[in-house]
């Protein structure tokens, strides 16, 4: 009788999870910034923490005339500069770098893919990677279709000899509903949906994952998490930098495509979704898609009422001068691209009907901060006569995503010796309660992909549902009058109209 099972009996009781199969990760656009700033530092730290198996390999695919030695040195410099664990441990890097190779080729050159297939087969034989491949699209999005087509044409869409093949697609995933659908079709012509991992690095952040833990592990919040108790929700992702050297890309994109369509929409889904029946990739994503479908679309005619845009002029953030957006390289002189956007959305479900979700995101704001604030309704009547009703601040539960990851709850409390009531904040910070550095988002996501867990990746219907909310907004803006841009100074909290946007609902943005 065969006694072998699929489970590794030596895993039981070990605190770190299963190690993935040995993969070869092929990074397209490997000479770019993302590879040396994020991807390879994440892979090195995974190796350092014994999360990767022996044999794991990296192949960088790009046009430049580099070789293995130069590629390895470039990545070493990148890891030394960007790794959360500091400079590399030389012995460890040396072993890790033996599995790093450079493959020169143009993305539209068939011979380069034939040579890639040969190189991958060689790595399989020499390093025991058993036909397992992850293709990582880290190129400008214009190259995606060609790479996907060539992979398919060279039989690289499915692994030889029992291995598995996966593909990770970086943002932006399309620029509107039509292009996202078209990219999905191109991908699905070569790969199955289970092989496709659309990355949104926000979902790899520990605090973002903790939203579901907070909601579904604690019995005290969930009963309050609905239209009867919540007044409104504010989701803010503020960046303190300008567009820097991304002006060319950004000017054709804007804050809504760059941030709202992916990161803020994901945060909204996690806050608003129903508990999934189990914690697995499809159950979690089913619930998120339900939220997206329940969001009342902002039609082109309604954009003036439910959206607000801004663009920054020259100013300074934290004492550092910032050029005006229109003065940045690659930006049109009369650009109508928004660098700030605020939206008011309604989720038409039994749980949330009538509760506004205010989303805002912008560049060149005073601080880099991301948070979700759930503001509860105020008490119906004031019991303590010495404090006027309007002096009562409502309870706010804040989930801070960056920079100080944590959760805080604002409660009203009596001032000692006086009849006054003041808000106090109960703070829980990751850094002080666990004393362990959180892994980088990419570490978690790359590992999950190799383990075949798509929970923290965006599914096809999710990305299309999200674009179907965003695209009519752009249509409305494009059809409307030109905006009086720039309309906020770099280093301020967005256009003055953003405050009016909230004030007309009798609310205000949180001061961050």
């Amino acid at each position: 009788m065969e006694t072998t099972t699929l489970d590794n009996p030596l895993r039981s009781g070990l605190r770190i999870g299963r190690t993935p199969e040995p993969y070869t990760m092929v990074i397209f656009g490997a000479t770019g910034d993302l590879t040396s700033r994020k991807l390879v530092p994440a892979l090195y730290n995974l190796a350092r923490e014994r999360r990767l198996p022996g044999g794991f390999s990296v192949v960088g695919f790009a046009r430049r005339e580099w070789d293995d030695a130069f590629f390895r040195q470039t990545l070493l410099d990148g890891v030394n500069a960007n790794s959360r664990s500091g400079a590399v441990e030389p012995a460890l890097w040396e072993s890790f770098a033996q599995g790093i190779f450079y493959h020169r080729g143009s993305f539209d050159e068939p011979a380069a893919y034939a040579a890639l297939a040969e190189q991958l087969a060689k790595i399989d034989a020499e390093r025991g990677t058993g036909g397992n491949r992850v293709f990582y699209l880290a190129t400008p999005p214009e190259s995606y279709p060609e790479i996907i087509r060539q992979l398919g044409a060279h039989g690289l869409g499915h692994a030889p000899s029992g291995g598995s093949t996966r593909i990770i697609v970086e943002k932006p995933f399309g620029r509107d509903l039509e292009s996202a659908k078209s990219l999905n079709q191109q991908l699905l012509a070569v790969f199955d949906e289970e092989q496709i991992f659309r990355i949104d690095h926000y979902l790899g952040k520990e605090t973002v994952q903790n939203i579901l833990v907070l909601r579904f592990v604690n019995s005290i919040f969930e009963p309050l998490w609905d239209r009867r108790h919540v007044d409104h929700v504010q989701i803010t992702v503020a960046e303190s930098i300008g567009v820097e050297d991304r002006g060319g890309y950004y000017d054709s994109s804007g804050a809504t495509r760059d941030m709202i369509q992916n990161h803020l929409t994901q945060l909204l889904c996690l806050v608003a979704m129903e508990p999934p029946v189990v914690y697995d990739a499809d159950a979690v994503r089913d619930e998120k898609v339900k939220v997206l479908r329940a969001i009342q679309p902002i039609t082109p005619e309604d954009v003036a009422q439910y959206t607000l845009r801004g663009q920054y002029s020259a100013g300074s953030v934290s004492g550092r001068p910032i050029n005006g957006y229109r003065g940045e390289r690659g930006v049109a002189a009369a650009s109508q691209t928004e660098t700030y956007v605020a939206l008011k959305l309604f989720v038409n479900s039994w749980r949330w009907a009538g509760v506004p979700f205010y989303l805002r995101s912008g560049k060149a704001l005073p601080r880099r901060v991301s948070e979700i604030a759930v503001q509860f309704k105020t008490v119906p009547t004031m019991l303590f006569a010495d404090t006027p009703m309007n002096a009562i601040e409502p309870n706010v539960l804040t989930i801070k995503i960056q920079p100080d990851e944590g959760i805080s709850l604002k409660v009203g409390s009596k001032v000692p010796g006086q009849a006054q009531i003041r808000p106090v904040t109960m703070d829980f910070r990751y850094g002080t309660s666990f004393g362990v550095a959180s892994p980088e988002a990419y570490e978690r996501l790359l590992l999950d992909c190799m383990l075949g867990d798509g929970t923290l990746f965006t599914r096809r219907d999710e990305v299309e549902a999200s674009w179907s909310l965003i695209t009519p907004i752009h249509q409305g803006w494009d059809a409307g009058p030109a905006q009086p841009f720039p309309n906020y100074e770099a280093g301020t909290w967005g256009p003055a109209a953003a405050d009016e946007f909230m004030a007309r609902d009798g609310r205000a943005w949180r001061r961050l």
Binding site: T3, N8, R15, R18, E21, T432
Partner: protein, 395 residues
């Protein structure tokens, strides 16, 4: 650090409150966070151990801010009892609040030693786990354990410091099985942590990892031979860590000891077990041998690698399958301290090698790892039970 000679519980708590006020004042209005996640009771029998415990507790504040009650008990003709309080604070990092834990040190000598437990109980912060750390050679005979057993969530010992490892393992296994009746037994029995086991975690991870690769998993069920070698501390062979690793492999892989389960040749132990034979019918078995041997100073590997002699502990673990296809999996400490070379070699295929971290964690790291555990470590329980069965043959 503030001193209080009168041993009065109210006074200790008052001193602590005063301490927090002073701390807050010193911080110049900056927030000082008193964050307590557990009660840690520790016992020292000499001042060197007390200093060691205090130093470790300081380091623990970062990951597990706690209230430590350190009992320093020493023999003396005259009874003597005194207590000190102090706050253990981390240097604040930029923008983060300063985190502090607190420590109460009780010095008891002579007849006063018997009063220590009665002093510890009211000092425990309510609704937080209570962990007792007993470093030293014979923790299970400690009277403090007897008195605190009913309130304990976890007992932490280090079997590497046992004078008689075989007898010690048997005693630990009995404690872990909680067979005695009385308060603190049964389901409420405290969980047991052995820092010797905690220190083996990198070895277990690196060994387990080979078999997460699906094509290699079948070999795990065909292992015929395991070789474990270690560098003895102070040149004195002590097979304890080897026995724990052997116990772990046997418990996880369903190897059962034969009746004449162990043979001893010099300092080398040979364990004889059997496992289910793969692919030849339900009742067929095959023998498995586990060899545990010290690398003594005259061993070629030791003389080549000077650092090894200075770092006692496991040096190499080999797993071999010869049943069917030959395969060999090894984790061997590398020349460079803190790393190991792992090799998976299956006949007819290129060997897969890599260097991995295999750190030798300090005491504070080992304790921190055990304090992260909330429940009983069942894998350790099973490994300990098996290791004590081997040790029974050595008695």
């Amino acid at each position: 650090m503030t001193t209080a000679h009168a041993v009065d519980i109210g006074a200790i708590e008052r001193e602590l409150r005063q301490l927090w006020k002073e701390n807050a004042a010193e911080a110049g209005g900056q927030a000082v966070t008193r964050a307590l996640t557990l009660n840690l009771v520790a016992r020292a029998t000499d001042s060197a151990t007390a200093d060691m415990i205090s130093a470790v507790v300081q380091q623990l504040t970062a990951s597990h801010p706690n209230r430590t009650v350190l009992a320093v008990v020493q023999a003396a003709a005259e009874p003597w009892l005194e207590a000190y309080v102090q706050a253990n604070c981390l240097l604040p990092s930029r923008g983060a609040p300063q985190v502090c834990g607190e420590q109460i040190t009780i010095n008891a000598r002579g007849a006063a030693v018997g009063q220590v437990a009665s002093l510890v109980l009211p000092l425990l912060v309510p609704d937080l786990p209570v962990v007792l750390w007993l470093p030293g050679p014979a923790p299970l005979d400690d009277p403090l354990l007897g008195r605190l057993r009913g309130v304990l969530d976890r007992l932490i010992v280090d079997s590497r410091s046992f004078t008689d490892p075989a007898a010690g393992l048997l005693q630990l296994a009995t404690f872990d099985a909680a067979e005695h009746s009385g308060p603190g037994n049964g389901p409420q029995a405290p969980a047991l942590s052995d820092l010797a086991w905690t220190g083996l975690t990198p070895w277990r991870e690196l060994t387990a990892q080979f078999f997460d690769t699906r094509p290699l998993l079948p070999y795990l069920h065909r292992i015929d031979r395991a070789e474990i070698s270690y560098v003895p501390a102070d040149g004195k062979p002590n097979p304890l860590e080897g026995l724990l690793i052997a116990g772990w492999l046997a418990a996880c892989l369903g190897w059962s000891p034969l009746s004449d389960g162990i043979s001893v040749q010099g300092d080398t132990l040979r364990l004889h077990l059997r496992r289910a034979a793969v692919g030849v019918g339900p009742s067929a078995t095959r023998p498995v041998t586990v060899e545990i041997s010290p690398l003594l100073p005259n061993h070629p590997q030791i003389t080549q690698i000077a650092q090894m002699a200075e770092q006692p502990g496991l040096a190499a673990l080999h797993l071999r399958a010869v049943d069917g296809v030959t395969a060999d999996f090894s984790v061997v400490r590398a020349d460079e301290p803190g790393y190991a070379l792992t090799t998976a070699q299956v006949a007819g295929q290129a060997p897969v090698r890599r260097l991995a971290r295999c750190e030798q964690p300090g005491l504070a790291d080992l304790l921190a790892a055990e304090l992260r555990l909330l429940s009983r470590d069942r894998t350790f329980g099973a490994a300990l039970k098996m290791a004590s069965a081997f040790a029974a043959h050595l008695e």
